[in-house]
Structure formats: C-alpha cells, structure tokens
C-alpha cells in the first residue's frame, strides 16, 4: 500500500512515469523505499533545495505513521549516472 503511494506520487511528478521504479527494503527501524527515476527527472523529484523529496517523505511518513510504521524514501542514482 505504501509502495503504491510512493509510486503514485513519483509518477505524478516526473516527465517519464514509465521509468519510475520503487523498491521496498525492510530496514531495522523503518521501511525504506528506494526510488529510481529517469536521469533527467532527478532534479524534478529532488526539487529546489530538496523541497520536493522533503514533501514526499513527509507524506509517506504520515501515511506510515497511520499504520504504526516508520518509512522513508531514498532516491537512488541510475546505474552509470554520475552527479
């Protein structure tokens, strides 16, 4: 359910929704959602001063808290991409 939420938000933001990939990794203290997007969409999901990813995390955290969980979202670089 949370994974669908992360995917939905990410797809709503980027230019290339078909390249959005979300992996769920169970961490020790929280679920981590690893988000991969097209290289040209990196800036879009991060946003100026990280405001977009910050807002995405806030929403996902709120949704997770409702289910008594902790969750966060990390953006992963595409293989071969250097920032």
């Amino acid at each position: 359910m949370l994974r669908e939420l992360v995917t939905f938000i990410a797809k709503s933001i980027v230019d290339n929704p078909e390249q959005v990939e979300v992996n769920e990794v169970e961490g020790e203290r929280a679920v981590v959602f690893e988000l991969r997007v097209a290289p040209e969409d990196m800036g879009k999901v991060i946003g100026k001063k990280g405001r977009v990813i910050h807002a995405v995390r806030a929403l996902v955290q709120a949704a997770a808290a409702k289910e008594g969980k902790r969750a966060t979202v990390e953006i992963l670089e595409q293989p071969g991409l250097r920032l």
Partner: protein, 215 residues
C-alpha cells in the same frame, strides 16, 4: 483526455496539422512520434509520411483534483475533494473522516501536501497561478485564529501606544495578519527579521490627515 493522430511530410508539418485541428499551441500538447518520415528511394518510391500522436495536456485544476483523489485512495482515506476557482487561484477542499494525518502537527503535513499539489499541477495548462489545499476546514479555522490574534494585539497596541511584535510566522500567515488589520486606522503593520523568524510588528499609527485628534 483528447488524443489525435496526424500525418505530414515531416514531424513539424504533422504537428502543425494537429495544432490547427485542436486549435491550441505547442505548449498545450504532448507529442509522440509514431513513425519518422522517410524519403524513400530517390524521393519517389517508398516514401513515408511522418505520423504523430498528439495529446492535449490537462488543465492545472483537473490535475490537482486527480492528484488529491489518487492520494486519498492510496492512503486508505475516505474523503471528498471539492474544487473551486477563485480568480487566478484554485481552492481544493478535502472533507471526510480521520483526515488528521493529512494535516499533521501545526499543519506541517498539509503544507507539504499543498506544495506537492502545486508541483504536480504546474505540469498542466491554464492560467491558474496557485492551488490552495484545505483539509477538513483546517485553514479556515487557522485563518480565523490568526485574525483574532491580530485584532487582540492591535487593541493592546492602541491602548498602550507601544508597538508589539507577534510570534514568527511564515509568509502566508503574516499576510493574513496584515490583511486583517489593513482597514484598522489606528495601527499599521509591517514585517521584520529574516525567515524563518520573520514576524509582524504592529505599531500605533501616527496621527495624520483625517484621523488626527487635535489636543
């Protein structure tokens, strides 16, 4: 969603045809090239037209509405989204039960939600400058609280004749305070300090013009 397919000797020509048919400009559409044109052999045999698919972009309010309803659904929340135009802005109100999760402490989550909704809506077309989001009347209530706070502080300023500084607020909340006291002829307001600690200062208005009281 309106989608049409057109052809032309070049992609540009196909696009021109599509735009003419839809009566819109290039900024309003998404273009997918289905088939590149080919000259064929000696430009005669086997030449093929370009074929493109042109989709009209949605307008900002529609995108914002779909984003919010989609979000509710995926957060397992039941709510109804109402969408209303307000001049060059648009207000989306979410009503339902147990929506506190969307508001968060001091409205923090709501702020993020509104920000994201604006990011998503900005992909659409239309003249809307901004999208406002309210959840379960939270903004309305907060606005009322800020107006009361502003008026009480103004009364105190009038009584004591001394300026008063309100607690630090973000630009939006400060604006509500300024507007609430705009018509008050006894005090003036301005903001001081740097974000995020910028605050409204309420000062007694100097006696001048029609409002002066002669001794």
């Amino acid at each position: 969603m309106t989608t049409i397919e057109t052809t032309g000797r070049s992609v540009e020509e196909a696009l021109e045809n599509a735009l003419r048919e839809l009566g819109v400009s290039e900024d309003d559409v998404i273009v997918e090239v289905i088939e590149e044109p080919s000259r064929g052999f000696l430009g005669i045999i086997g030449s093929k037209d370009a074929r493109i698919r042109v989709t009209l972009k949605k307008d900002k309010a529609e995108i914002a509405y779909e984003f919010l309803t989609g979000l509710l659904h995926r957060m397992n929340l039941r709510g109804i989204v109402e969408s209303r135009a307000q001049g060059d802005t648009h207000l989306l109100t979410v009503n339902g039960d147990d929506l506190g999760v969307l508001i968060g402490r001091h409205g923090q989550t709501l702020k993020h939600l509104e920000f994201l909704t604006n990011v998503v809506a900005s992909r659409g077309i239309g003249d809307i400058k901004r999208v406002f989001v309210d959840v379960a009347g939270y903004r309305k209530r907060k606005e009322k609280m800020l107006e009361d706070l502003a008026r009480n502080a103004a009364r105190k300023v009038q009584k004591t004749g001394k300026s008063a500084a309100l607690r630090p607020m973000d630009a939006r909340d400060r604006r509500i305070v300024h507007l609430a006291l705009q018509k008050n002829t006894r005090v003036t307001t301005h903001s001081e300090g740097d974000e995020p600690f910028r605050r409204v200062i309420i000062s007694p208005r100097r006696n001048e013009g029609g409002h002066s009281r002669q001794r």
